[in-house]
Symmetry: C2
Subunit: 320 residues, 2 copies
């Protein structure tokens, strides 16, 4: 796969990424960049369930970049079976969070290795290697960072809100417990400090639930701005609507208009450019942010790679 003509083939890229939506673009970037891509992943959705440490966003990125994701279902592993869940239910265990038999291997291995003193960064790297992933996948921090959703039904842990309650409670505020003290991963800091860095891409994950907790880690924003590389966000809005249901619902509840301009405003001061969908036009969003209009709906691998190429080419133009 040829690089975008404008993007220097020796440069590296850091992608800031949440779960499913972001992982699609990360896969496109990985196809183009291989080992020159570092994906910095949200950990604020992580939780301990049945004594096991589960990292939904990291797992999604690992399965997606490792060619092991279930494309039809949209989450989890391909070729999955559910006998563990059936037996858990029989024992009266919690069954609101579906854990596939294959998926479980990752949670058990990770929990065991974390208990043995390894960092989440080290465990994630080991799994990526086993999955044959050339790109680096880095948790933004090895410290505890947890999204807490303040709703009309009380304050909920993220997975309780997102999976158990299916995003039904009305969101009033989103907080990130531990953000004040979480330490930016040294590997993330290094990736952003690299002289080879050619671009930072903020993937089209939910800005409020998936990207904000990453950006909340002290030092990350400064490291992004200080890198000197252009910072480009890809808007999750298509035609004045958030294509992912929860994002649309949350934006409405937080009284935020689902427009490219809103996204630009959200990332103002941090990004140099915003990739917007062709349907949203290429009108100026102001705030010193340049826009680039292109199809952003990623329905298959070619459309993921195409958006990745376009985003990198845009970043290259911004750098000149």
């Amino acid at each position: 796969m040829p690089m975008p003509p404008a993007f220097d083939g020796s440069k590296t890229v850091v992608a800031i990424c949440g779960g499913v939506g972001g992982a699609k673009l990360a896969l496109g970037l990985a196809h183009l960049l291989g080992a020159r891509l570092t994906v910095v992943v949200n950990v604020a959705d992580d939780f301990v369930h049945m004594g096991l440490r589960i990292c939904p966003d990291i797992d999604t990125v690992l399965y997606t970049l490792g060619g092991r994701s279930d494309e039809a279902r949209g989450w989890g592993r391909a070729g999955e079976s559910w006998n563990f869940m059936a037996a858990t239910k029989e024992l009266g265990g919690e069954d609101w969070f579906a854990l596939g038999d294959r998926d479980l291997a990752l949670h058990v291995q990770r929990s065991c290795r974390l208990a043995g003193g390894e960092t989440l960064t080290a465990v994630t790297a080991a799994v990526a290697e086993k999955f044959g992933i050339a790109s680096k996948i880095l948790p933004v921090t090895d410290d505890d960072l947890r999204t807490r959703v303040h709703t009309d039904a009380g304050v909920l842990d993220f997975q309780r809100y997102f999976v158990e309650r299916r995003c039904e409670p009305e969101v009033r505020r989103i907080a990130f417990d531990g953000a004040a003290t979480a330490r930016l991963s040294p590997q993330v800091r290094d990736a952003l400090a690299s002289k080879q860095l050619g671009a930072v891409i903020i993937c089209p994950s939910n800005p409020y639930l998936s990207i904000d907790p990453i950006l909340a880690v002290p030092g990350l924003r400064a490291a992004m701005r200080g890198s000197g590389a252009p910072v480009v966000a890809v808007s999750p809005i298509i035609g004045g609507r958030a294509i992912k249901g929860p994002t649309a619902k949350i934006m409405q509840e937080l009284d935020i208009a689902p427009t490219a301009a809103t996204i630009a405003q959200h990332y103002a001061g941090l990004i140099d450019g915003l990739v917007v969908d062709s349907a949203d036009g290429a009108e100026a969003v102001g705030l010193g942010i340049t826009t680039c209009a292109t199809p952003t709906l990623m329905t298959d691998l070619p459309s993921r790679i195409a958006l990745a190429r376009e985003s990198l080419a845009f970043a290259a133009r911004l750098a000149t």
Copy 2:
């Protein structure tokens, strides 16, 4: 299923039980006694694997009495699948101890509940209830008790010796770490102190690996003797041979003749009667121990119930 004519239908029974071999007789006893049976199970084969607490003997008894054991394979759960193991192997995890997808639910539930402060006794009772088991299944102790096998290849944890090394190293001595301080489960003490107790049956599990660690818990022998009920062991020897491979091999390595007389000697001072296989005759074994000869090979449910009936009738005769 009618009770043996000689055994008082209002009496309770305590069975002392290891894994597969013992569980077969326990199942026969459970068919006859239901809620009047208490099975006291070995925990010295337990271990922590990948961070999960695994109790092979308790699990075997739960699956056997719960009608969930795989009869053809001889261990583990029926209808089992192995996708967790396949995915674990892919991740470079340990694969010497096979954990089925359904089986895993029990280990995860138990580990989580133990970590939450419940006792192994409580967790085991909860699982037995979910499995619809009327009989009580009790770990002999809630404390740590671990079989360590001294071999020509060094000192091995039990599962390392039994599963990973397939009993290949030559056994020189068997030790039970923690036996000096393990506290007899109060529920086991109560079962043996019951005025309704009609018999104590030592199942035909491996005397050295499965029954000895149970008997090593301080206070158990005294509670058995002090109960006043007849104590009957069922010999694991058939026709001068131990029918289970490891038992035969270990007896040879420990220079112990595989005879009913040897078993009688091993349990001397503790038992009143010994059920021996018809092939081993009904000759006196001395030591004040009465014998009863009957077919002891348990190939199907009727033969398990038949041996249970015979053992109970024998105990009833000893009580008069």
